[in-house]
Every structure is written in structure tokens, then in C-alpha cells.
């Protein structure tokens, strides 16, 4: 029983290793900066198949193909902006993790600041109303204090 268990464990581990080893092609670049360029780009771009992974992490075949495409373009001497434009022209802004600032995304970019402004003004108005009410209360109490004083002095007499 023990033997079967350990064999099974080794088997499962070896299978999982194979999964990790798959799909990760190693690209050869002319120099270190090209490798760096490749790393930044694949880190910043989204895989369209498994959308919560970037191109560097994804094991989807499309991600692998796009990595190959990017590597080829880097070796040919394209700069980051050119490669990003190439992909955006084909796959849309969706491939970017950071959406560009444009009319359609104004609410996305500036919405939080609008909410902050609304929140602050609500807070300000609330504080203003409470203050005024307190002032009124204290006004009333001074009048009442005078009344009390008068009553007290009348009683003393």
C-alpha cells in the first residue's frame, strides 16, 4: 500500500512538472536589452484567452504564438510602441492591462475623483448642518441660562 502511494505521488509530481515545462519556448535575442524589452512587453500585455493572465504567464497556445510574434518583432528591431500598436490594431485596447485615456474611458479614469468630490461635499454639508444645529442649541441654552439666573435671583430675594 505504501509503495503504491509513493509511486502514485512520484507519478503525479512528474505529470505536473511536464505541464510546467510545456509551452515555454526560450527565445534567443541579440543582447540583454532585447531580452528585457521582451520581458516588459509580455508582462504588460494581456492574454485574450485566459484574461487574468499576462502573455508571459499564460500557457494558452495563442499566448505562445503572440510571444513568438513579439520576439520576432524585437529581433527585427521594432520598438515597444510599434509592437504594442501592432497588437492593439489587431486585438484592440483589450490586450492592454492599462486602458488608454480617451473619451470612452473618461468615467473609468476620472470617476473615482468625481466620487471623492461628491463624498467630500456631502461630508462638508453634513458638518455645516450639524454645526448650525448645535449653535442654535447653545443659543437656546444661553436664553435658558438667563431665565434660570433670573429665577434663582428671584428665589434668593
Amino acid at each position: 500500500m505504501r509503495l503504491i502511494k509513493s509511486v502514485l505521488v512520484i507519478l503525479l509530481i512528474s505529470i505536473s512538472c511536464k505541464c510546467f515545462a510545456e509551452n515555454k519556448m526560450i527565445y534567443s535575442f541579440n543582447n540583454n536589452s532585447q531580452q528585457q524589452q521582451f520581458d516588459t512587453l509580455t508582462y504588460e500585455l494581456r492574454c485574450l484567452v485566459c484574461q487574468n493572465q499576462n502573455l508571459a504567464e499564460s500557457n494558452a497556445t495563442l499566448a505562445a504564438d503572440l510571444r513568438t510574434q513579439i520576439a520576432e518583432m524585437i529581433v527585427k528591431g521594432f520598438n515597444n510602441q510599434e509592437i504594442v500598436n501592432y497588437l492593439v490594431n489587431r486585438y484592440g485596447d483589450y490586450i492592454l492591462y492599462e486602458p488608454p485615456v480617451m473619451k470612452k474611458t473618461w468615467l473609468l479614469w476620472f470617476g473615482p475623483f468625481i466620487l471623492l468630490a461628491v463624498g467630500l461635499s456631502v461630508l462638508y454639508i453634513a458638518v455645516y448642518i450639524i454645526r448650525r444645529r448645535e449653535n442654535k442649541l447653545s443659543e437656546i441654552s444661553t436664553i435658558e441660562k438667563q431665565k434660570i439666573k433670573r429665577i434663582l435671583s428671584a428665589m434668593e430675594e
Binding site: L62, Q69, V88
Partner: protein
């Protein structure tokens, strides 16, 4: 002040309704449908071998002058297999030319497939590396492009073309595009 007093008790309700609205909208959005960036743009240049007669090469010229569909498919794609009979039905209406893009496939398997299930495509481009598909912004199979007479992409179906999608979306669009001048 009277206004605030009136509205005060229903504020929680209003908040609830607005949260509910956003959640409901969120459910209605399908995040796996990425709108194509190529809509209303000219089809990309390509140079592919014809799957059936490999000595022949296909380029974007084949799309010019008539309304056509380009279906991206593969024999390993199960959804494409579901879709295949629909494509054959569309072909049999003789209303539109369908071209195929055989994506990351094995040539022999694809040829056997066509022999077995029939061929809805006027011509099939063979793209074993998937590089042409990248140029077309394809991110999964099947995808179906609607291309007008000028070679401009007008619509893209992501996923299976069903009879319903054909009747409701593709057919009216194709009829409209066919009335346009070249």
C-alpha cells in the same frame, strides 16, 4: 430641508437599487467576447497556400468584388465541428461565398475531414503556424468575419455560427451589403 426629510427614508432603497443595477449589468456582459479592432477596416494582407491544392496561393484579392464570409476553423476544434453543418447549409443557400482559414491544423487530417463531412468553403487558406490568424486578430476558433465587396471587415461572429445567428444577424447584414456598390 423638506426635500431631504422626504427622501431620507428611501435613501437605502435607492442605494440598493443602484448597486443591483450595476451587478445586473455586470452579469449581462460576457468578458470572453472581445470586440474586434478590425471592424470597418480593410482586411490584412496575407499569402497562404490553398489547403486542397497547395501549389496555389491565396491572397486578399479573393475577397474583392463580392460579399463573403471567412470562417476560421480547425479539425481539433469541437465547437467548429458543431458549426460545420450550419456552414454547409449556408453554402447551399448560394447567397454568399464562404472562405475557410484552417488554423493550426494538420493538412492530412483536414483533407480527411473535408472528404468525410463535405466542404462548405469556396477556398481554404492553410495556416499551420497561425501567423495569418494573428494578423486577423483571431483569438480562438471558430470566428467568422463578414467582408463586404470592397474587402472591408463589417462584422465578426466570435464562437459558433448557429442557424439563429445566421437568420437574425448574418443574413440581413449580407443582404444589405450586397445592395452596396463595389
Amino acid at each position: 430641508m423638506i426635500f431631504i426629510k422626504l427622501i431620507k427614508p428611501i435613501i437605502p432603497l435607492l442605494i440598493l437599487i443602484s448597486i443591483g443595477f450595476f451587478l445586473w449589468r455586470g452579469l449581462a456582459i460576457n468578458p470572453t467576447l472581445v470586440p474586434s479592432a478590425l471592424i470597418d477596416k480593410q482586411i490584412p494582407e496575407f499569402n497562404l497556400r490553398n489547403l486542397i491544392s497547395p501549389q496555389q496561393t491565396l491572397s486578399k484579392q479573393i475577397f474583392l468584388g463580392h460579399v463573403s464570409l471567412l470562417n476560421v476553423w480547425a479539425t481539433w476544434c469541437t465547437v467548429c465541428a458543431n458549426e460545420y453543418p450550419v456552414l454547409i447549409d449556408i453554402k447551399n443557400t448560394h447567397l454568399v461565398t464562404i472562405y475557410g482559414l484552417d488554423y493550426k491544423d494538420d493538412r492530412q487530417t483536414a483533407l480527411r475531414w473535408i472528404k468525410k463531412y463535405g466542404n462548405p468553403f469556396a477556398k481554404i487558406g492553410f495556416d499551420p503556424e497561425g501567423t495569418t490568424a494573428i494578423n486577423w486578430g483571431v483569438y480562438g476558433t471558430p470566428e467568422t468575419f463578414v467582408i463586404d465587396k470592397k474587402g472591408i471587415i463589417r462584422y465578426k461572429v466570435i464562437g459558433e455560427v448557429s442557424h439563429r445567428i445566421w437568420q437574425r444577424i448574418l443574413l440581413p447584414l449580407i443582404e444589405k451589403l450586397q445592395r452596396e456598390s463595389t
